[in-house]
Protein backbone atom coordinates (compact mmCIF):
# COMPACT_ATOMS: atom_id res chain seq x y z
CA UNK A 1 0.00 0.00 0.00
CA UNK A 2 1.51 3.31 -1.02
CA UNK A 3 0.63 6.77 0.09
CA UNK A 4 1.77 8.68 -3.00
CA UNK A 5 -1.75 9.95 -3.52
CA UNK A 6 -1.74 11.95 -0.26
CA UNK A 7 0.39 14.81 -1.53
CA UNK A 8 -1.63 15.52 -4.72
CA UNK A 9 -4.85 15.35 -2.69
CA UNK A 10 -3.53 17.87 -0.17
CA UNK A 11 -2.28 20.03 -3.01
CA UNK A 12 -5.71 19.92 -4.67
CA UNK A 13 -7.48 20.87 -1.43
CA UNK A 14 -5.08 23.74 -0.80
CA UNK A 15 -5.35 25.08 -4.33
CA UNK A 16 -9.13 24.94 -4.16
CA UNK A 17 -8.85 26.85 -0.87
CA UNK A 18 -6.54 29.48 -2.36
CA UNK A 19 -8.62 30.04 -5.49
CA UNK A 20 -12.03 29.92 -3.79
CA UNK A 21 -10.81 32.19 -0.99
CA UNK A 22 -9.34 34.67 -3.43
CA UNK A 23 -12.48 34.76 -5.56
CA UNK A 24 -14.63 35.23 -2.46
CA UNK A 25 -12.45 38.10 -1.23
CA UNK A 26 -13.05 39.92 -4.51
CA UNK A 27 -16.75 39.08 -4.87
CA UNK A 28 -18.05 39.55 -1.31
CA UNK A 29 -19.47 42.92 -0.38
CA UNK A 30 -19.10 42.34 3.38
CA UNK A 31 -15.68 43.67 4.06
CA UNK A 32 -14.98 41.88 7.37
CA UNK A 33 -15.83 38.54 5.78
CA UNK A 34 -13.51 39.42 2.91
CA UNK A 35 -10.70 40.16 5.37
CA UNK A 36 -11.20 36.84 7.17
CA UNK A 37 -11.28 34.94 3.89
CA UNK A 38 -8.08 36.67 2.91
CA UNK A 39 -6.49 35.26 6.07
CA UNK A 40 -7.81 31.84 4.99
CA UNK A 41 -6.20 32.27 1.55
CA UNK A 42 -2.89 33.15 3.21
CA UNK A 43 -3.14 30.05 5.40
CA UNK A 44 -3.69 27.86 2.33
CA UNK A 45 -0.67 29.49 0.68
CA UNK A 46 1.36 28.65 3.76
CA UNK A 47 0.21 25.05 3.33
CA UNK A 48 1.55 25.15 -0.23
CA UNK A 49 4.93 26.29 1.07
CA UNK A 50 4.95 23.40 3.55
CA UNK A 51 4.26 20.99 0.69
CA UNK A 52 7.27 22.43 -1.14
CA UNK A 53 9.46 21.80 1.92
CA UNK A 54 9.81 25.48 2.84
CA UNK A 55 8.46 25.52 6.41
CA UNK A 56 10.26 28.71 7.39
CA UNK A 57 8.68 30.68 4.57
CA UNK A 58 5.31 29.13 5.41
CA UNK A 59 5.63 30.25 9.03
CA UNK A 60 6.70 33.75 8.05
CA UNK A 61 3.74 33.86 5.68
CA UNK A 62 1.39 33.11 8.57
CA UNK A 63 3.23 35.37 11.04
CA UNK A 64 3.26 38.41 8.78
CA UNK A 65 0.17 38.05 6.62
CA UNK A 66 -2.31 36.42 9.02
CA UNK A 67 -0.95 37.74 12.31
CA UNK A 68 -0.11 41.28 11.24
CA UNK A 69 -1.53 42.39 7.89
CA UNK A 70 -5.02 40.91 8.30
CA UNK A 71 -5.27 42.39 11.79
CA UNK A 72 -4.13 45.75 10.40
CA UNK A 73 -6.80 45.56 7.69
CA UNK A 74 -9.45 44.70 10.29
CA UNK A 75 -8.29 47.70 12.33
CA UNK A 76 -8.66 49.86 9.24
CA UNK A 77 -12.15 48.49 8.60
CA UNK A 78 -13.21 49.13 12.17
CA UNK A 79 -11.97 52.71 12.17
CA UNK A 80 -13.70 53.46 8.86
CA UNK A 81 -17.25 54.67 8.85
CA UNK A 82 -19.54 52.66 6.65
CA UNK A 83 -23.25 52.04 6.54
CA UNK A 84 -25.33 49.53 4.65
CA UNK A 85 -24.40 49.64 1.02
CA UNK A 86 -26.70 47.24 -0.77
CA UNK A 87 -25.38 48.28 -4.18
CA UNK A 88 -21.72 48.22 -3.40
CA UNK A 89 -20.79 47.09 -6.91
CA UNK A 90 -23.21 49.47 -8.61
CA UNK A 91 -20.69 51.35 -10.73
CA UNK A 92 -18.53 48.39 -11.58
CA UNK A 93 -19.38 47.16 -15.03
CA UNK A 94 -15.98 45.99 -16.20
CA UNK A 95 -16.55 42.28 -15.54
CA UNK A 96 -16.31 41.16 -19.22
CA UNK A 97 -13.18 43.23 -19.76
CA UNK A 98 -11.67 41.77 -16.58
CA UNK A 99 -12.48 38.26 -17.77
CA UNK A 100 -10.62 38.92 -21.04
CA UNK A 101 -7.53 40.19 -19.21
CA UNK A 102 -7.56 37.31 -16.73
CA UNK A 103 -7.80 34.81 -19.58
CA UNK A 104 -4.96 36.54 -21.42
CA UNK A 105 -2.69 36.18 -18.40
CA UNK A 106 -3.91 32.89 -16.94
CA UNK A 107 -3.84 30.72 -20.06
CA UNK A 108 -0.13 31.31 -20.93
CA UNK A 109 0.80 30.87 -17.27
CA UNK A 110 -1.12 27.59 -17.11
CA UNK A 111 0.50 26.35 -20.35
CA UNK A 112 3.99 27.22 -19.12
CA UNK A 113 3.25 25.77 -15.70
CA UNK A 114 2.02 22.47 -17.11
CA UNK A 115 5.06 22.16 -19.39
CA UNK A 116 7.34 21.66 -16.37
CA UNK A 117 7.78 17.97 -15.76
CA UNK A 118 10.73 17.66 -13.41
CA UNK A 119 9.91 17.30 -9.74
CA UNK A 120 11.17 20.02 -7.43
CA UNK A 121 14.20 19.06 -5.39
CA UNK A 122 13.56 18.84 -1.67
CA UNK A 123 16.12 20.19 0.73
CA UNK A 124 16.56 17.81 3.61
CA UNK A 125 16.05 19.08 7.13
CA UNK A 126 14.09 22.18 6.24
CA UNK A 127 14.99 25.43 4.56
CA UNK A 128 16.01 27.46 7.60
CA UNK A 129 19.78 27.37 7.10
CA UNK A 130 19.58 27.81 3.33
CA UNK A 131 17.26 30.79 3.71
CA UNK A 132 19.38 32.42 6.40
CA UNK A 133 22.66 32.02 4.49
CA UNK A 134 21.20 33.38 1.27
CA UNK A 135 19.61 36.36 3.02
CA UNK A 136 22.68 37.29 5.03
CA UNK A 137 25.43 36.52 2.46
CA UNK A 138 24.38 36.58 -1.22
CA UNK A 139 21.46 38.95 -0.81
CA UNK A 140 22.69 40.96 2.17
CA UNK A 141 22.77 44.22 0.20
CA UNK A 142 19.20 44.04 -1.21
CA UNK A 143 18.04 42.91 2.23
CA UNK A 144 19.55 45.99 3.88
CA UNK A 145 18.18 48.25 1.13
CA UNK A 146 14.70 46.82 1.71
CA UNK A 147 14.99 47.36 5.45
CA UNK A 148 16.09 50.99 4.96
CA UNK A 149 13.17 51.50 2.58
CA UNK A 150 10.74 50.11 5.16
CA UNK A 151 12.22 52.33 7.85
CA UNK A 152 11.85 55.40 5.61
CA UNK A 153 8.25 54.42 4.86
CA UNK A 154 7.50 54.03 8.56
CA UNK A 155 9.03 57.37 9.51
CA UNK A 156 7.20 59.01 6.60
CA UNK A 157 3.88 57.52 7.67
CA UNK A 158 4.37 58.79 11.23
CA UNK A 159 5.33 62.29 10.03
CA UNK A 160 2.39 62.46 7.63
CA UNK A 161 -0.25 61.29 10.09
CA UNK A 162 0.97 62.74 13.37
CA UNK A 163 -1.31 65.48 14.61
CA UNK A 164 -0.12 68.04 17.08
CA UNK A 165 -1.31 67.44 20.59
CA UNK A 166 -3.79 70.32 21.21
CA UNK A 167 -2.73 70.57 24.85
CA UNK A 168 0.95 70.92 23.96
CA UNK A 169 0.19 73.44 21.22
CA UNK A 170 -1.84 75.56 23.64
CA UNK A 171 0.99 75.44 26.16
CA UNK A 172 3.53 76.56 23.57
CA UNK A 173 1.30 79.42 22.40
CA UNK A 174 0.95 80.66 25.94
CA UNK A 175 4.70 80.82 26.46
Amino acid sequence: MTFDFVEPVIFALLSIGVIAGGVAVVMLSRITAAALLMAFTFLCMAGMFVLLGAETIALFQVLIYVGAITVLILYGVMFTKFGDRPRALFFQRQTPLAAVFVAAVAIPVAIIGLSFTSATSRPGGGDLVALATSVFTDFAFPFEIASVLLLAAMVGAIVLTKREDPEEAALRRRR
Partner: protein
Protein backbone atom coordinates in the same frame (compact mmCIF):
# COMPACT_ATOMS: atom_id res chain seq x y z
CA UNK B 1 8.61 -2.65 4.03
CA UNK B 2 10.02 -0.41 6.77
CA UNK B 3 8.61 -0.95 10.22
CA UNK B 4 8.11 1.96 12.60
CA UNK B 5 7.41 1.99 16.34
CA UNK B 6 5.10 -0.77 17.68
CA UNK B 7 5.46 -2.64 14.37
CA UNK B 8 3.24 -0.18 12.52
CA UNK B 9 4.00 1.03 9.00
CA UNK B 10 5.64 4.47 9.43
CA UNK B 11 3.27 5.96 6.87
CA UNK B 12 0.29 4.94 9.02
CA UNK B 13 2.16 5.76 12.22
CA UNK B 14 2.70 9.42 11.18
CA UNK B 15 -0.99 10.42 11.00
CA UNK B 16 -1.84 8.14 13.93
CA UNK B 17 0.82 9.88 16.01
CA UNK B 18 -0.72 13.22 15.10
CA UNK B 19 -4.17 12.08 16.21
CA UNK B 20 -2.75 10.78 19.50
CA UNK B 21 -0.83 14.02 20.04
CA UNK B 22 -3.88 16.22 19.43
CA UNK B 23 -6.03 14.03 21.68
CA UNK B 24 -3.46 14.18 24.47
CA UNK B 25 -3.04 17.94 24.07
CA UNK B 26 -6.81 18.42 24.26
CA UNK B 27 -6.95 16.24 27.38
CA UNK B 28 -4.12 18.22 29.00
CA UNK B 29 -5.60 21.59 28.07
CA UNK B 30 -9.03 20.75 29.46
CA UNK B 31 -7.78 19.27 32.72
CA UNK B 32 -4.94 21.75 33.07
CA UNK B 33 -7.42 24.61 32.90
CA UNK B 34 -9.56 23.03 35.64
CA UNK B 35 -6.52 22.47 37.83
CA UNK B 36 -5.13 25.95 37.23
CA UNK B 37 -8.40 27.69 38.03
CA UNK B 38 -8.50 25.79 41.31
CA UNK B 39 -4.85 26.68 41.99
CA UNK B 40 -5.49 30.30 41.11
CA UNK B 41 -8.38 30.55 43.55
CA UNK B 42 -6.58 28.73 46.32
CA UNK B 43 -3.35 30.72 45.98
CA UNK B 44 -5.20 34.03 45.87
CA UNK B 45 -7.16 32.91 48.91
CA UNK B 46 -3.98 32.07 50.83
CA UNK B 47 -2.37 35.40 49.92
CA UNK B 48 -5.52 37.31 50.86
CA UNK B 49 -5.93 35.34 54.11
CA UNK B 50 -9.12 33.55 53.07
CA UNK B 51 -10.04 29.88 52.73
CA UNK B 52 -10.95 29.70 49.05
CA UNK B 53 -13.14 26.92 47.66
CA UNK B 54 -13.46 24.11 50.21
CA UNK B 55 -17.02 22.78 50.12
CA UNK B 56 -17.08 20.61 46.98
CA UNK B 57 -14.92 17.54 47.33
CA UNK B 58 -11.79 17.21 49.49
CA UNK B 59 -10.13 20.65 49.87
CA UNK B 60 -12.64 21.98 47.34
CA UNK B 61 -10.87 20.06 44.58
CA UNK B 62 -14.08 19.35 42.67
CA UNK B 63 -15.22 22.97 42.69
CA UNK B 64 -13.89 23.74 39.19
CA UNK B 65 -15.38 20.52 37.82
CA UNK B 66 -18.74 21.68 39.11
CA UNK B 67 -18.15 25.10 37.54
CA UNK B 68 -17.30 23.47 34.22
CA UNK B 69 -20.48 21.37 34.34
CA UNK B 70 -22.45 24.54 35.03
CA UNK B 71 -20.85 26.27 32.03
CA UNK B 72 -21.57 23.35 29.72
CA UNK B 73 -25.20 23.12 30.80
CA UNK B 74 -25.79 26.86 30.44
CA UNK B 75 -28.15 28.23 27.83
CA UNK B 76 -26.47 29.32 24.60
CA UNK B 77 -27.24 33.05 24.72
CA UNK B 78 -26.65 35.14 21.64
CA UNK B 79 -27.68 38.77 21.47
CA UNK B 80 -29.80 39.61 18.44
CA UNK B 81 -27.43 42.19 16.95
CA UNK B 82 -24.34 39.97 17.05
CA UNK B 83 -22.69 39.10 13.78
CA UNK B 84 -23.81 35.46 13.33
CA UNK B 85 -20.91 33.41 11.97
CA UNK B 86 -18.14 35.62 13.25
CA UNK B 87 -19.54 35.46 16.76
CA UNK B 88 -19.43 31.66 16.65
CA UNK B 89 -16.07 31.47 14.89
CA UNK B 90 -14.16 33.80 17.22
CA UNK B 91 -13.78 31.37 20.17
CA UNK B 92 -12.47 28.74 17.76
CA UNK B 93 -10.03 31.25 16.26
CA UNK B 94 -8.69 31.95 19.74
CA UNK B 95 -8.64 28.31 20.86
CA UNK B 96 -7.17 26.51 17.82
CA UNK B 97 -3.78 28.29 17.61
CA UNK B 98 -3.29 27.70 21.33
CA UNK B 99 -4.05 24.00 20.93
CA UNK B 100 -1.80 23.73 17.87
CA UNK B 101 1.15 25.19 19.73
CA UNK B 102 1.13 22.19 22.10
CA UNK B 103 2.46 20.09 19.20
CA UNK B 104 6.05 21.27 19.67
CA UNK B 105 6.23 21.32 23.48
CA UNK B 106 8.86 18.76 24.56
CA UNK B 107 7.46 16.95 27.60
CA UNK B 108 10.34 14.47 27.78
CA UNK B 109 13.17 13.09 25.70
CA UNK B 110 10.96 11.44 23.07
CA UNK B 111 7.55 12.70 24.11
CA UNK B 112 6.91 15.53 21.69
CA UNK B 113 4.20 15.92 19.05
CA UNK B 114 6.59 16.95 16.29
CA UNK B 115 10.25 17.88 16.43
CA UNK B 116 10.07 20.86 14.05
CA UNK B 117 13.44 22.42 13.31
CA UNK B 118 11.66 25.80 13.34
CA UNK B 119 9.73 25.08 16.55
CA UNK B 120 10.34 28.44 18.17
CA UNK B 121 9.19 30.33 15.08
CA UNK B 122 6.13 28.07 14.94
CA UNK B 123 5.20 29.00 18.51
CA UNK B 124 5.51 32.75 17.89
CA UNK B 125 3.50 32.41 14.69
CA UNK B 126 0.62 30.70 16.47
CA UNK B 127 0.80 33.25 19.26
CA UNK B 128 0.26 36.02 16.72
CA UNK B 129 -2.80 34.30 15.27
CA UNK B 130 -4.76 34.67 18.52
CA UNK B 131 -5.05 38.42 17.90
CA UNK B 132 -7.23 37.77 14.88
CA UNK B 133 -9.76 35.86 16.97
CA UNK B 134 -9.87 38.58 19.62
CA UNK B 135 -10.42 41.38 17.09
CA UNK B 136 -13.15 39.34 15.39
CA UNK B 137 -14.80 38.65 18.76
CA UNK B 138 -14.86 42.34 19.62
CA UNK B 139 -16.26 43.22 16.21
CA UNK B 140 -18.87 40.46 16.05
CA UNK B 141 -20.29 41.31 19.48
CA UNK B 142 -21.67 44.57 18.02
CA UNK B 143 -21.15 46.27 21.34
CA UNK B 144 -19.07 49.37 22.05
CA UNK B 145 -17.41 47.92 25.13
CA UNK B 146 -16.53 44.71 23.32
CA UNK B 147 -15.17 46.57 20.30
CA UNK B 148 -12.99 48.92 22.35
CA UNK B 149 -11.87 45.98 24.47
CA UNK B 150 -10.99 43.95 21.39
CA UNK B 151 -9.01 46.78 19.82
CA UNK B 152 -7.17 47.46 23.09
CA UNK B 153 -6.38 43.81 23.49
CA UNK B 154 -5.15 43.53 19.90
CA UNK B 155 -2.95 46.60 20.36
CA UNK B 156 -1.51 45.15 23.54
CA UNK B 157 -0.84 41.72 22.05
CA UNK B 158 0.79 43.12 18.90
CA UNK B 159 3.00 45.44 20.93
CA UNK B 160 4.18 42.86 23.43
CA UNK B 161 4.86 40.28 20.74
CA UNK B 162 7.89 42.33 19.67
CA UNK B 163 9.93 42.18 22.91
CA UNK B 164 8.86 38.55 23.25
CA UNK B 165 10.28 37.56 19.86
CA UNK B 166 13.39 39.68 20.41
CA UNK B 167 14.02 37.86 23.71
CA UNK B 168 13.63 34.50 21.96
CA UNK B 169 16.13 35.53 19.29
CA UNK B 170 18.89 35.98 21.85
CA UNK B 171 18.41 32.40 23.03
CA UNK B 172 18.47 31.17 19.43
CA UNK B 173 21.71 33.10 18.93
CA UNK B 174 23.39 31.42 21.87
CA UNK B 175 22.05 27.90 21.29
CA UNK B 176 22.23 28.02 17.49
CA UNK B 177 18.94 26.25 16.87
CA UNK B 178 15.21 26.94 16.77
CA UNK B 179 14.20 23.36 17.61
CA UNK B 180 12.76 22.93 21.09
CA UNK B 181 14.50 19.56 21.45
CA UNK B 182 17.92 20.93 20.50
CA UNK B 183 17.51 23.87 22.87
CA UNK B 184 16.68 21.48 25.72
CA UNK B 185 19.60 19.20 24.86
CA UNK B 186 22.03 22.12 24.85
CA UNK B 187 21.37 22.70 28.56
CA UNK B 188 22.44 19.37 29.97
CA UNK B 189 23.74 19.65 33.49
CA UNK B 190 23.29 22.51 35.93
CA UNK B 191 24.34 25.25 33.46
CA UNK B 192 20.87 26.23 32.21
CA UNK B 193 20.33 29.18 29.91
CA UNK B 194 18.92 31.44 32.61
CA UNK B 195 22.43 31.70 34.07
CA UNK B 196 23.73 32.83 30.68
CA UNK B 197 20.83 34.99 29.54
CA UNK B 198 18.96 36.25 32.64
CA UNK B 199 18.09 39.56 30.99
CA UNK B 200 16.28 38.06 28.01
CA UNK B 201 14.42 35.78 30.44
CA UNK B 202 13.16 38.78 32.41
CA UNK B 203 12.10 40.58 29.23
CA UNK B 204 10.33 37.46 27.97
CA UNK B 205 8.55 36.83 31.24
CA UNK B 206 7.26 40.41 31.49
CA UNK B 207 6.11 40.36 27.86
CA UNK B 208 4.55 36.93 28.38
CA UNK B 209 2.46 38.28 31.27
CA UNK B 210 1.04 40.84 28.85
CA UNK B 211 0.67 38.32 26.05
CA UNK B 212 -1.47 36.03 28.19
CA UNK B 213 -3.54 38.92 29.61
CA UNK B 214 -2.34 38.35 33.16
CA UNK B 215 -2.15 40.99 35.86
CA UNK B 216 -0.64 43.64 35.83
CA UNK B 217 -1.44 43.69 32.12
CA UNK B 218 -5.01 42.30 32.17
CA UNK B 219 -6.49 45.47 30.69
CA UNK B 220 -8.66 43.70 28.15
CA UNK B 221 -10.84 42.59 31.04
CA UNK B 222 -10.71 45.78 33.10
CA UNK B 223 -14.18 45.51 34.63
CA UNK B 224 -14.26 49.08 35.86
CA UNK B 225 -13.76 50.61 32.41
CA UNK B 226 -14.75 48.09 29.78
CA UNK B 227 -17.33 45.79 31.46
CA UNK B 228 -15.60 42.56 30.37
CA UNK B 229 -13.82 43.80 27.25
CA UNK B 230 -14.17 41.63 24.17
CA UNK B 231 -15.82 38.92 26.27
CA UNK B 232 -18.84 41.09 27.18
CA UNK B 233 -21.39 39.35 24.96
CA UNK B 234 -20.11 35.83 25.51
CA UNK B 235 -21.53 33.40 28.03
CA UNK B 236 -21.75 29.69 28.71
CA UNK B 237 -19.28 27.39 27.03
CA UNK B 238 -18.23 29.98 24.43
CA UNK B 239 -17.06 32.17 27.26
CA UNK B 240 -15.48 29.11 28.87
CA UNK B 241 -13.58 28.22 25.72
CA UNK B 242 -12.39 31.78 25.17
CA UNK B 243 -11.44 32.74 28.65
CA UNK B 244 -10.84 29.69 30.76
CA UNK B 245 -9.45 27.20 28.25
CA UNK B 246 -7.57 29.58 25.95
CA UNK B 247 -6.17 31.78 28.67
CA UNK B 248 -4.95 28.97 30.88
CA UNK B 249 -3.79 26.97 27.86
CA UNK B 250 -1.76 29.98 26.75
CA UNK B 251 -0.35 30.42 30.23
CA UNK B 252 0.80 26.80 30.16
CA UNK B 253 2.35 27.20 26.70
CA UNK B 254 4.21 30.35 27.74
CA UNK B 255 5.47 28.73 30.93
CA UNK B 256 6.54 25.68 28.92
CA UNK B 257 8.51 27.97 26.59
CA UNK B 258 10.19 29.61 29.58
CA UNK B 259 10.99 26.19 31.04
CA UNK B 260 12.40 24.86 27.79
CA UNK B 261 14.40 27.90 26.76
CA UNK B 262 15.84 29.08 30.04
CA UNK B 263 15.43 26.31 32.61
CA UNK B 264 16.50 23.17 30.80
CA UNK B 265 13.08 21.73 29.93
CA UNK B 266 12.84 18.09 30.90
CA UNK B 267 16.46 17.90 32.03
CA UNK B 268 16.88 17.04 35.68
CA UNK B 269 18.44 14.53 38.07
CA UNK B 270 17.90 10.91 37.04
CA UNK B 271 16.58 11.61 33.55
CA UNK B 272 19.34 9.60 31.83
CA UNK B 273 18.38 6.48 33.78
CA UNK B 274 14.60 6.85 33.54
CA UNK B 275 13.60 9.00 30.53
CA UNK B 276 9.97 9.15 31.73
CA UNK B 277 11.15 11.15 34.74
CA UNK B 278 11.51 14.05 32.29
CA UNK B 279 7.73 14.49 32.21
CA UNK B 280 7.75 15.00 35.97
CA UNK B 281 10.58 17.57 35.88
CA UNK B 282 8.98 19.41 32.98
CA UNK B 283 5.57 19.56 34.65
CA UNK B 284 7.06 20.67 37.97
CA UNK B 285 9.02 23.48 36.35
CA UNK B 286 6.04 24.62 34.26
CA UNK B 287 3.75 24.69 37.28
CA UNK B 288 6.34 26.57 39.30
CA UNK B 289 6.14 29.40 36.75
CA UNK B 290 2.35 29.22 36.66
CA UNK B 291 2.32 29.67 40.44
CA UNK B 292 4.67 32.66 40.10
CA UNK B 293 2.22 34.21 37.62
CA UNK B 294 -0.63 33.69 40.10
CA UNK B 295 1.46 35.19 42.87
CA UNK B 296 2.06 38.27 40.69
CA UNK B 297 -1.68 38.46 40.01
CA UNK B 298 -2.49 38.51 43.70
CA UNK B 299 0.19 41.11 44.42
CA UNK B 300 0.25 43.78 41.73
CA UNK B 301 -2.39 46.33 40.68
CA UNK B 302 -3.38 46.86 37.07
CA UNK B 303 -1.61 49.31 34.73
CA UNK B 304 -3.37 52.00 32.75
CA UNK B 305 -3.45 51.60 28.96
CA UNK B 306 -1.01 54.44 28.22
CA UNK B 307 1.39 53.20 30.90
CA UNK B 308 1.20 49.74 29.40
CA UNK B 309 1.96 50.95 25.89
CA UNK B 310 4.74 53.34 26.86
CA UNK B 311 6.37 50.69 29.04
CA UNK B 312 6.47 48.34 26.06
CA UNK B 313 7.62 50.78 23.37
CA UNK B 314 9.91 52.97 25.44
CA UNK B 315 11.14 50.41 27.96
CA UNK B 316 11.03 46.80 26.88
CA UNK B 317 11.66 47.07 23.14
CA UNK B 318 14.79 49.28 23.34
CA UNK B 319 16.19 47.05 26.09
CA UNK B 320 15.43 43.91 24.07
CA UNK B 321 17.13 45.40 21.01
CA UNK B 322 20.16 46.36 23.07
CA UNK B 323 20.21 42.84 24.49
CA UNK B 324 20.23 41.30 20.99
CA UNK B 325 23.04 43.56 19.79
CA UNK B 326 25.16 42.78 22.84
CA UNK B 327 24.53 39.04 22.66
CA UNK B 328 25.15 38.88 18.89
CA UNK B 329 28.41 40.83 19.07
CA UNK B 330 29.70 38.79 21.99
CA UNK B 331 28.61 35.50 20.39
CA UNK B 332 30.58 36.43 17.25
CA UNK B 333 33.59 37.75 19.15
CA UNK B 334 33.88 34.78 21.53
CA UNK B 335 32.56 31.71 19.68
CA UNK B 336 34.02 29.23 22.14
CA UNK B 337 32.98 30.56 25.52
CA UNK B 338 29.69 31.84 26.89
CA UNK B 339 31.17 33.64 29.89
CA UNK B 340 31.27 37.15 28.30
CA UNK B 341 27.61 36.83 27.26
CA UNK B 342 26.65 35.79 30.78
CA UNK B 343 28.55 38.70 32.34
CA UNK B 344 27.02 41.21 29.92
CA UNK B 345 23.52 39.84 30.42
CA UNK B 346 23.74 39.98 34.21
CA UNK B 347 25.11 43.54 33.98
CA UNK B 348 22.22 44.57 31.72
CA UNK B 349 19.75 43.05 34.15
CA UNK B 350 21.23 44.95 37.09
CA UNK B 351 21.21 48.20 35.10
CA UNK B 352 17.60 47.61 34.02
CA UNK B 353 16.31 46.89 37.51
CA UNK B 354 18.35 49.64 39.16
CA UNK B 355 17.44 52.15 36.46
CA UNK B 356 13.67 51.83 36.85
CA UNK B 357 13.40 54.14 39.94
CA UNK B 358 15.48 56.87 38.26
CA UNK B 359 13.49 56.80 35.02
CA UNK B 360 10.26 56.73 36.97
CA UNK B 361 11.25 59.72 39.10
CA UNK B 362 12.20 61.76 36.01
CA UNK B 363 8.93 60.84 34.30
CA UNK B 364 6.88 61.87 37.31
CA UNK B 365 8.77 65.16 37.55
CA UNK B 366 8.02 66.07 33.92
CA UNK B 367 4.39 65.02 34.33
CA UNK B 368 4.01 67.19 37.41
CA UNK B 369 5.70 70.13 35.70
CA UNK B 370 3.36 69.80 32.74
CA UNK B 371 0.30 69.64 35.00
CA UNK B 372 1.47 72.73 36.89
CA UNK B 373 2.08 74.61 33.64
CA UNK B 374 -1.37 73.67 32.38
CA UNK B 375 -3.24 74.76 35.52
CA UNK B 376 -1.17 77.84 36.45
CA UNK B 377 -2.68 80.33 33.93
CA UNK B 378 -6.18 79.12 34.83
CA UNK B 379 -5.46 79.75 38.51
CA UNK B 380 -4.06 83.18 37.69
CA UNK B 381 -7.14 84.04 35.65
CA UNK B 382 -9.50 82.94 38.42
CA UNK B 383 -7.72 84.90 41.18
Amino acid sequence: MPVGPFGIDPLIWAPLRLVIAVGLALFLVLNGALLQIYLERKIQAIIQDRLGPYHVGPFGLLQTFADALKLISKEDVRAQATDGWFFVAAPALVFCPMLASWVVLPFAQDIVGANLNVGLLYLTTLGSMTVLGIVIAGWASNNKYALVGGLRSAGQLISYEIPQILALVSVALVVGSLSMIDITRSQAGPLVNVLILPFSFVIYFIAALAETNRTPFDLPEAESELVAGWLTEYSGMRWGTMLALSEYGNVTVVCAIVTTLWFGGWQGPGVEAIPLLGVLWFTLKVYAFIVVMMWIRATLPRLRIDQLMSFCWKGLIPMALLNIVVVAVLALAFPTTKVPIAVASWLLLVVFVAGIPFVQRRRLRTLRARARAATAPAVRAAS
